[in-house]
Amino acid sequence: MGIKESSKKKFRRVVMWSALTLIILLIFLSVYGAFLGAERTQRLVNTLPLTVYWLSFVLILIAGLVVFRRLVRVPSLLLIHAGCVLILAGAMWGSDAGHKLQEQLFGIDKIRTGRMVIYEGHTENHVLLEQGQTPKELPFSIHLKDFRLEYYKPGSILVYMPDDTTRRIPAETGSEHNLGGEVGKVKIVRTFERFRLNIEDDRREAIDAPDGELMPALEVIIEKPDGSQLKRYVFEPSQGYMYKDNFQMSYLRMISDYISELQIIENDKVVAEKNIEVNHPLHYGGYHFYQHRYDAEAGQYTVLEVTSDTGLNLVYGGYLMLCIGVFWQLWLRHIFTGIKLKKLRNTPPPINWGAKYSGFLLSQE
């Protein structure tokens, strides 16, 4: 064995031990981060010591690819390990530090992440950054044509029963629900979007006022166990009214979607248009725009989350390679080996996967 050969083996051993150490460290970091919570972990992983850690991980992966020839020759192993390099590189390139570096090196001044508040009918190009930082401008503007909420139909009535249990009944107009001896029957008569009580000459009349404020409500008739009937209105908890008797009721509507109708405007022309909703962002000019929050009181404005797409293709490319690699290495290769063995022996296989490695530190490959 030549000196060169033995030092190569030593180097391999160092690389492998470093890889194992880095993996174990990351396990501990993940568990620690789970206790810290998302925000603090996010800050932690972007600090200088952790940047050094991420760089070391990439370096050790590259060193592995250089010193273990099998990692390059076996395509599945190459896909796995090179995929990991791409994911880490993409993540670093797209991080805060990555954006700053690109600004210094190439003069690319891109916002990494921020928020936009846009009122219905208005056009905006300012992105709000973290507290204390001045907002930045995008090279194009966004116009909010309309913002709307959609609800699951029908909603439901949450009933707090006299025995402290709760029941949920569907708020379907015309339906009748028997809630048992102490409470009686509840019949749902009418649904309102913009409930308003008109009082004229001592006559009170509930109407759905098209120009009124949003106030979803239900008109119900309660038939008490003694046979008497009451007409009552049930509102959402946020309205501050709750039907109270020996039992209580409130009206619940579950949101099924938030939709912002957006137009991208560049040089006074509409260059793109999309209705964005949760899970369906808009991609334009190197940014993704997400439905983030909305004006819960009046539904007048939307809050978009803006994120830069820098590094994203690298990460997605890495994901694809990693996935193909692991299925190929751990599923397909074994299946092919099994079929080959079966053909050779023409007997049912024991595919001896487990015995494949005698252990590299012991056998020295």
Partner: protein, 264 residues
Amino acid sequence: MEIKYTIQGLLIYAAMGAYLLAFVMSLLRHRKAGDILYLLGFIIAVLAFGYRWYDVRHTPLQNLFEVFLCLGMICYPASFFCRRILQVGGRCADMLIGAIVLFPAGFIFSAQPQQLPPALQSWLFVPHVAVYMLSYIFMAKATFQAISQLAGKSYDGDEKLLPPEQATYRMICAGFPLLTLGLVLGSWWGKLAWGDYWGWDPKELWSLASWLVYVGYFHFRYMFGKKHARINSAWAIAGIAAILITLLWANLSRLFSGLHSYAT
């Protein structure tokens, strides 16, 4: 503890009962009766899952009740596949695993049907959860083999089956690509729904930790082969411990409040 006096509940309890009886019969070496009861348990579990699907009218993989119900159903085909194709035994333990995974669906989590919040309305939802489910079953079987290895068992009495150390490796080989796919699909979905492919929230971090434990296992085993077989097994057990925490602790405990907290 919530006992369900509904058709849904009864189906779950019947499937659990059949799995448990199958386990007892197999322990008493009434193999045939055990096998028939196990199959019966599976058929009832399919009915329970189908009933739920009909009831909520969307793929029932939204909350932990439905997830455990699904796990209780896929145990049987997974067990069959592992024995016939992968030569990994542990059928008797599989019956017990079936009953154990149905327990939370039967007694702990509420079966109240829910409407999907906007973030969960994505085509990625079902594949993300489904591949995780399947990988968890494989990893649970790997753990059983690892425990057998630590307990000093050699073969399962069947010549065609692998010894525990190798069986553990094979089960992890089966489960790891699915675990990877689950993680990647989750990350992709996170990007679409929340704007970032990685949010560092506790549930993500626990799932990363469990994935990394298996990455560690592969490299440790590559470095030492079977020289430290007990440590190999310890890695596999650490893996399932991290998975269990990912699945339960992050959801149940109020210690972590993160993006995934609606999935309770």
